[in-house]
C-alpha cells in the first residue's frame, strides 16, 4: 500500500482519531471522484459497526450507481429489481423479524420506477429503513432527467433545461412519505461537509434505533451530488448543490416521532 503521511511521530495506534470502518471491504468503490455515495456508504458502515449489527443487518441494494453496494459493506445483502427494494425488504423483514433490514436507493430507483413500492411500503408502515440518495439525475445511465431534476436544470434528456410545462415539477417524495401515517421518522440530510456528515450520522443512528422499536418505516433522504452527471468538478458540484438543491429540498427533519 502506497501511503503519504504527515508527521511520523504522531502516527501511533494510541493517537488514532479516525479510520475507515471495519465493515467496509477493501474493494475500491466504483463511483466517480467526489461522489456522495462513498461518504453515505461509510456513514452507514460506521453505524452498523458501532451498533454491533454486522450479523443482524440485511441490506437491499437497488439498481443504479449503488448497484454494487454489496461489494463494499461486509454484511448480508439482497439485490432487488429496479425500484422494488422496499417490496423485497418487506418480505425479508416479515420472514426474519429480528433482523435489521434496510434499503439503499437512488432517486431514479426510489422516486421514478419504484414510486408505488416506496409509497405503499411506507403506508403499510413496514419496519424497514429506507436510505434515499437524491442527486436529481440518473447518474449511472449518463445523466438523464429524473423526477427529482430541478426546474431549468440541464440533463442529457432535457438539454435546454427542465421545462415544467411539458416535463412537470420535481417530485418531493420524502415530503409525500412524511404525510403517510405508516412512516415513523422522515428526515432530509446531506453529506458534502463534515458538519453535515455528523448530522447525517446522527439521523441514521436515530433511524436505526427506531427500527428496534418496530414502530414504522424510517426514511432518511440524503441530498447528494453527481459531478459527472452535472458536468462539474466535485467542489463546484457541492457548491451548486448548496445554492440550487437546498432551496428546493430544504434539510431537516420532516417527521419526528411524538414523544
Amino acid at each position: 500500500m502506497v501511503e503519504y503521511s504527515g508527521i511520523k511521530e504522531i502516527i501511533k495506534p494510541v493517537n488514532l482519531v479516525y479510520k475507515k470502518s471495519e465493515i467496509m471491504t477493501e474493494n475500491t468503490l466504483s463511483y466517480c471522484p467526489g461522489c456522495g455515495h462513498g461518504t453515505a456508504h461509510r456513514i452507514l458502515a460506521e453505524i452498523i459497526g458501532e451498533e454491533g449489527l454486522q450479523s443482524e443487518a440485511i441490506g437491499v441494494s437497488p439498481v443504479g450507481c449503488s448497484v454494487f453496494m454489496y461489494n463494499y459493506l461486509n454484511i448480508d445483502w439482497q439485490e432487488a429489481a429496479h425500484g422494488r427494494a422496499p417490496a423485497v425488504a418487506t418480505a425479508i423483514k416479515r420472514l426474519l423479524p429480528e433482523k435489521f433490514v434496510f434499503t439503499y436507493q437512488g432517486d431514479g430507483d426510489l422516486a421514478a420506477i419504484g414510486t408505488a413500492e416506496t409509497i405503499h411500503a411506507c403506508n403499510r408502515g413496514e419496519n424497514i429503513l429506507i436510505i434515499f440518495i437524491n442527486n436529481g439525475i440518473y447518474g449511472m445511465t449518463g445523466g438523464q432527467m429524473a423526477p427529482t431534476t430541478l426546474p431549468g436544470m440541464k440533463s442529457s434528456t432535457s438539454p435546454y433545461g427542465r421545462d415544467v410545462r411539458t416535463m412537470g415539477y420535481p417530485l418531493k417524495i420524502t415530503d409525500i412519505v412524511a404525510t403517510l401515517p405508516g412512516s415513523y421518522y422522515v428526515t432530509r440530510q446531506s453529506v458534502h461537509t463534515a458538519a453535515n456528515v455528523k448530522k447525517t450520522k446522527k439521523a441514521i443512528r436515530k433511524a436505526v434505533q427506531y427500527q428496534k422499536l418496530n414502530k414504522g418505516t424510517c426514511l432518511v433522504e440524503i441530498v447528494s451530488n453527481c459531478p459527472s452527471g452535472w458536468k462539474m468538478t466535485p467542489v463546484q458540484a457541492n457548491k451548486w448543490m448548496e445554492e440550487n438543491m437546498f432551496p428546493y429540498y430544504p434539510l431537516g427533519d420532516l417527521k419526528t416521532p411524538e414523544e
Partner: protein
C-alpha cells in the same frame, strides 16, 4: 497551554483526487500532488503537515475513505 498536533495518512493509490478534503481542511494542510497515482489522479497529500490539528474533517468528507487521522497533545 497544551498544543494539539495531528497527522494524516493518505492511501495514495485509492485517492481519486476529488479535492473535497482540500476544500474542507480548516488549516490548509492538504494539497493536491503534481504527480499522479496509478489511476492517473492527482492525489491528496499533507503538504503542510505541521499545520494539521487532527480535526478529521478531511477523513469525514472523503468519499473513498482513504484518510486515516491521528491526534495528540504536546
Amino acid at each position: 497551554m497544551a498544543k494539539i498536533r495531528g497527522s494524516i495518512v493518505v492511501n495514495v493509490e485509492r485517492c481519486k483526487g476529488c479535492e473535497v478534503c482540500m476544500v474542507t481542511c480548516p488549516t490548509g494542510t492538504i494539497a493536491m500532488a503534481k504527480e499522479v497515482n496509478g489511476k492517473g489522479y492527482n492525489y491528496a497529500f499533507p503538504a503542510n503537515p505541521e499545520l494539521c490539528i487532527g480535526c478529521a474533517n478531511c477523513a469525514m468528507v472523503c468519499p473513498d475513505g482513504v484518510i486515516t487521522v491521528y491526534k495528540t497533545k504536546i
